[in-house]
């Protein structure tokens, strides 16, 4: 598969993914816009796969160092992103149970 047609197939994926993104996000409940922000953070930290390769492959240390920092940054987003999302979502209840639902 030639280099250009590779680009086009990537662009193709990007277009389809954007359609899905716009379609799905538009239907996210307004109640959950704050958690939405944090979960998309976490998901876009999928960039971590790129940094894993760079960090772990047999490359010059300086390169691998860059990868390592990137990996650390992404990992932070993943962990904090998912955790805080779940923490917020835990709070949403229909019927009030006495006591508090996860004060911070």
């Amino acid at each position: 598969m030639t280099e250009t047609s590779e680009f086009w197939s990537q662009l193709f994926v990007f277009v389809l993914a954007s359609f899905i993104g716009l379609g799905v996000i538009r239907r996210v409940s307004r109640l959950l816009h704050t958690p939405l922000m944090s979960i998309t953070n976490a998901i876009s930290a999928i960039a971590v796969v790129g940094s894993i390769i760079v960090t772990g492959a047999d490359y010059p240390p300086v390169i691998r160092l860059m990868g390592g920092i990137a990996l650390f940054a992404s990992m932070t987003n993943i962990v904090s992103g998912f955790l805080i999302t779940d923490r917020m979502l835990k709070m949403f209840k229909t019927d009030r149970k006495p006591g508090d639902g996860g004060h911070s």
């Binding site: 990537q10 922000m37 650390f72 987003n77």
Partner: protein
């Protein structure tokens, strides 16, 4: 074996991510969404780590441990700090993209010209530009939201500012093009850092002229940038999982930004180049009109007599952390058989869904949180509208006063209620920096003071008084 496994694994991860966002469409399924997201992420990480090309594991493990060490506390911040945390995570995301892009370039240099094809270089340059400007830009935004000393809250403007920014952008683009055309020229490796520097600088300059209160919108836009930089990385690494996840992130940022701008009746350009917060400076202070304030006792009595109460929370409730007191008030009134609902304005507070999260934190059933469009028709039948630290979102000027900066922004019709109580600390205006005639209307009574304190008093009154009923 692992190399073949990576493709199906990435496809599954993609599907899981899509489901994760899909399930966010209702609170019932939302948590399932988180689990799906975690599963997809774990799958992708494990399979990637197991690739044969990955031979050094020490640093990876180290970075992951570090990620947890920093990530867990970051997830424990108080909900009022969520906007800052979000901004910070965009900074991290941008940084990661920028660094990987840089690494890819210098790797390509080593492997010789054929790897750094024009298209690949375009992707790399786009990645580092977006990545690094998101990095500094988000740091600035986080700083402004955190109200860090040495970052000016108020928009910093200087003559020809936008022109200067534009020029800078053009320079960066020019240098980038040069790199694309001659990626392996002997000057290229030295020019590359220049692009990085320009991107970093541009990120700072982009945010400086924007007022602190506009940050939420800016954050959403930076969110979109972060997503796009992930997409660019996907192009560089020919990784469709990255492209998809990035696109999902990008759409989310875009849509939230649009929602906010719509609800504020402002345009993107106005937010980005309008130096909006300035208005705050010029207009603030010096109202001569008369406020009529009410005593806690009086307010408590009126509330007790009411049969329909609507509470309209705003940024002030967040600042005062008053949501738990509000819940106690809600309980007191409910005990008396009074219907209590919350009117939620799409941009009440400082981020989308801000009020919902705070009230949910206080364990108030989300079925009692009503959106603006649904509650407005009922407002005329409402006995008491209790405004808790909200201002712009209940400012009637938005309806008719063409000169007002919030003209045309849809508001909650608090002024239509029979009686209005408004809780705020001072006579200062809100985010938009303008007077709110609602406070001077003859059906409005002010309860000056910190929201938490005032509502606490109200609750005391009611719980004390409740015996006599």
């Amino acid at each position: 074996m692992m190399t073949t496994l990576v493709h199906p694994a990435y496809i599954v991860a993609t599907a899981l991510f899509i489901f994760a966002l899909h399930w966010m469409n209702t609170p019932q399924t939302a948590r399932r969404g988180v689990y799906a997201g975690v599963a997809g992420m774990a799958l992708a990480v494990i399979v990637t780590w197991a690739q044969p090309t990955v031979i050094h594991h020490g640093w990876i493990a180290l970075a992951i441990v570090g990620g947890f060490a920093v990530g867990v506390p970051l997830a424990m911040v108080p909900l009022t700090a969520v906007p800052q945390r979000t901004a910070l995570s965009h900074a991290f995301g941008g940084l990661a993209a920028g660094l990987v892009g840089t690494a890819e370039y210098y790797l390509g240099l080593g492997e010789g010209p054929d790897t750094l094809t024009a298209f690949r270089m375009v992707a790399i340059v786009a990645e580092i530009l977006l990545g690094f400007l998101t990095f500094t830009g988000s740091l600035m935004a986080a700083g402004k939201l955190q109200e860090v000393k040495w970052i000016p809250q108020r928009p910093v403007t200087y003559p020809l500012q936008n022109l200067a920014n534009l020029a800078l952008l053009l320079v960066a683009a020019g240098v980038g093009t040069a790199l694309v055309l001659h990626p392996t020229a002997d000057w290229a490796p030295h020019l590359f850092p220049v692009v990085i520097a320009l991107a970093l600088l541009f990120g700072v300059l982009l945010i400086i002229p924007i007022g602190g209160a506009d940050m939420p919108t800016v954050i959403a836009i930076l969110n979109a940038y972060a997503g796009l930089s992930a997409v660019a990385m996907g192009f560089v690494l020919d990784n469709k999982l990255l492209i998809t996840a990035g696109a999902l992130d990008g759409s989310s940022g875009l849509i939230l930004a649009i929602i906010m701008c719509k609800a504020m009746n402002r345009s993107f350009t106005n937010v980005l180049f309008g130096a909006f917060g300035q208005v705050q400076q010029t207009k603030a202070g010096g109202e001569q009109k008369v406020y009529r304030s009410e005593t806690i006792e009086g307010a408590a009595q009126v509330l007790e007599q009411a049969s329909q109460v609507v509470i309209i929370p705003g940024y002030g409730m967040a600042v005062a952390q008053a949501q738990h007191k509000v819940r106690e008030l809600y309980d007191q009134l409910k005990k008396r058989g009074i219907t209590v609902r919350f009117a939620i304005h799409p941009v009440a507070g400082r981020m989308p869904g801000h009020m919902n999260v705070l009230l949910a934190e206080a364990d108030i059933p989300y079925t009692d949180l009503v959106e603006m469009d649904e509650i407005n028709p009922d407002m005329p039948q409402v006995d008491v509208a209790l405004v808790v630290g909200a201002n712009d979102v209940v400012n009637p000027a938005a309806r008719y006063d063409k000169s007002s900066p919030i003209y045309g922004m849809p508001i909650i019709d608090a002024d239509k209620a029979r009686t209005v109580f408004a809780i705020k600390r001072s006579k200062n205006p809100g985010f938009a920096g303008i007077d709110n005639e609602l406070y001077f209307s003859d059906k409005t009574w002010m309860l000056f003071g910190d929201a938490k304190g005032v509502i606490g008093e109200l609750v005391k009154q009611l719980s004390g008084g409740s015996g006599m009923h």
